[in-house]
Symmetry: C2
Subunit: 505 residues, 2 copies
Amino acid sequence: MEIPLDRDAVTPLYQQIQRHIAHLIQEGALLPHSRLPATRRLAADLGVNRITVSNAYAELEAAGLVYAQTGRGTFVSALPEVSCQPAREEPQSEWPLWQQALDARPLPFTDERWRKLLGRAREPDVISFAGGVPDMETFPVEDFRRAMQAVFHRDGQTALDYGPVQGYPPLRDAIARFLGEQGIAVTSDEIFIASGSQQALSLVAMALVRPRDTVIVESPTYANAIQMFKWLDVRLLSVSTDDEGMRVDLLEHLLKHHRPRLIYTIPTFHNPTGTTLSGYRRRRLLALVKRYGLPIVEDDYIGDLRYDGPREPSLRALDPAANVIHVSTFSKMLMPGPRVGFVLAQGPLLERLVAVKRQTDLGTSGLIQRALEAYVGEGRWRAHTRRVSRIYKRRRDAMVAAMARYLPPEAEWTVPKGGFFIWVRLPAWVSIGDLYLAAVERKVAFAPGPLFFPGTPAYPAFRLSFSQQPPERILEGVERLGEALRVELNRERPTPPEARRVEMV
Amino acid sequence: MEIPLDRDAVTPLYQQIQRHIAHLIQEGALLPHSRLPATRRLAADLGVNRITVSNAYAELEAAGLVYAQTGRGTFVSALPEVSCQPAREEPQSEWPLWQQALDARPLPFTDERWRKLLGRAREPDVISFAGGVPDMETFPVEDFRRAMQAVFHRDGQTALDYGPVQGYPPLRDAIARFLGEQGIAVTSDEIFIASGSQQALSLVAMALVRPRDTVIVESPTYANAIQMFKWLDVRLLSVSTDDEGMRVDLLEHLLKHHRPRLIYTIPTFHNPTGTTLSGYRRRRLLALVKRYGLPIVEDDYIGDLRYDGPREPSLRALDPAANVIHVSTFSKMLMPGPRVGFVLAQGPLLERLVAVKRQTDLGTSGLIQRALEAYVGEGRWRAHTRRVSRIYKRRRDAMVAAMARYLPPEAEWTVPKGGFFIWVRLPAWVSIGDLYLAAVERKVAFAPGPLFFPGTPAYPAFRLSFSQQPPERILEGVERLGEALRVELNRERPTPPEARRVEMV
């Protein structure tokens, strides 16, 4: 890091360093959770005493702009602290006062610096493993077009009318039949249709939790779920994960001491880690929530996209006590465009979901629901599912092979048995912000690990998605990623033998 | 009202009366805001002292089950008070504890008794003036089908992919052009697409208000807006309305003393009153919000459906200070099925809308947005708009003529110059709950006034919608309604010369 210092100025050197770094953070040039240079190294680079740099860092920490982690170094804070600083480039005076007041109440999830950086994954020539979406080329567009046409011919004007808020009954029937084949006994009365699984999740959360309630999530977990819960002003507690999914053994302590309102989990082909909760843990989890009397929201966003290994029954299928709220979607498997997801719910919760949905948007597009029903009812999508499973399996295999070949031994990962994601864990001294910049410079992108942690990241990691690139691009992208990783690993390895690895909590 | 009394029981007579009425309320047999019999009359019917009935009513009031209004009588309370009573018929023990706990935290808007009763408007043979939706027969289904086909052929798989959260850019362009013709200068960057205007409203509210903020609405106003604000735990203040719309002269007092976060208004063809805010009041309203520095949410849900009279420019068109957040939709004019609405917003608010939308559902169906763009871009919908305007104008004329002929002189209403609704105001002594029952018995239905008041109804009223019935059914329905009204007016007129009319606030 280069910092212009004026040794004749009245301003002490430590303040000059502090102000320069504060400016870089506020401008977004330094990313949240990226690591500042070690005090020893920066002092050497600038030709100042190490105490001077330490003092500058201490001031930055006191201002909430950075945080220190023992054995790892000093890191840039996430936005909420930063946004307190009056550092917006646009002239604010143009906006009416009530608009300016909005800026003083930042949303919990608008970290524009990450968003801007993530935008670079979409630049031309960049091989992106960042997105979590299916490959557009796999969409059954012609079949869906025909289904839509059939609906227009069959239903005429009715297709364009309002329908029941809970969802179009024949689509609910079709979902019930399909779930029955997966071992989930459910009637269409228990199925609630939402506009995609993101809406399904947010409606479930709105129906169940109130501000300052406690919710348990995995760490890491689905980034949009974290942001959605933060938006609802919920207190998030996290349970760490390993190769078998959520560490259910750590859960009882939290249930006993924090009285959470619900547990949110992605048991199958987890996002971002790709792992699947083992059968033993599934049963133990269900026993725990039964004992403590709280619901589990099971996000089964992609459970059907399996490549090998046995199928683990969903939590909902194993749950005789009606504690599982199963959320799923057609978006990941088929195509996101129609935006249809669903929830399995009963009793008072179901009544509340309908009420909240009515307030939210009066119901999901009836036309789309009818077209989807015509499409899934026809059964063509089973063949489609088999076809896309084969495509994605080949891509997973290509990525796993490329990773074994090109990634340095410091990187660790688990091979997923389904879904889209591989989670790569790195030694504690790596800065993911810096690695991301090194990667996009080499025209390859990933999803940065910090986005998936409900709090301070427990360790450096990133998520690779193999869904959107053909095998040859995967090979090339992973090779570039390996280069970036090697450079960062060498540049960043601390001079003491090895930094202490922080404990996962 | 018949109440079985046991004159030999230990339980005093007043308690027997109290318990019987409490039971009727909890069972839903007595509707919220329906009037209890006058103490004098009930005492005569039951053969007891009038003091006995008064004591029973006082106990019911103390329990929150009823409320008294000077000069009008005693009325059944709305649900929140009632729901505190443990009076659910289904066996609760079946549900897990967390489900039972949900019942103890009732939603602000699930008044199932009204909902059940409103369901009767959908029974066969009932001529319903209750709904606020367009007539299905008017949907341009064939044109829309062709637009959808064209999108499939033109865009292929892309049509089924995710799109920008703010909305499909060509649709935003088309909306900007269309609004430009209405005198609203706006670029497509300032247009935000939502899944219908209900979602647009709820996203705007979520982006702007926090729990316990104060919001000003008209009284009466759109029922779902009231419920949406209550859901967000907002404090609602109301401004009464007259034939020229909101009483803007009463507004400054509220702005000065309550520091509201925003004003929600429906200036054109108001729901439920059908009135249009006069040009003078529009300008005064804009000057007031400019002075007090707060935004107006302008719900222009149907401003384009005009039958006669000059077009009042929208608040957004008159507002150089960017204080107006304009919300509109295609649902009312074209067809609700696609569920597309939009908001005109800028600056920090627009950023927040995008962020909240992302949390809510990741964006409105891209397929539907593309189809709608193909449809409105083609210009066929202008001819369609003219055609449906003619249809609805005939229906309005039929309803106004029928009302003049069949409704008793005690009913008062204003002839709307556009939209779907006529608001009928009744003498203070009429119970709308009882009138509704009398009407559905005669196979005609309306939307009960109490649903449209943010607090205790200021006066008895109901809303008639002429959108869904052809002229001959309108004639027949209004005739039946006149009968019901006459019966209720005669039955309910109080014996003292005339009840004092309560002041509108």
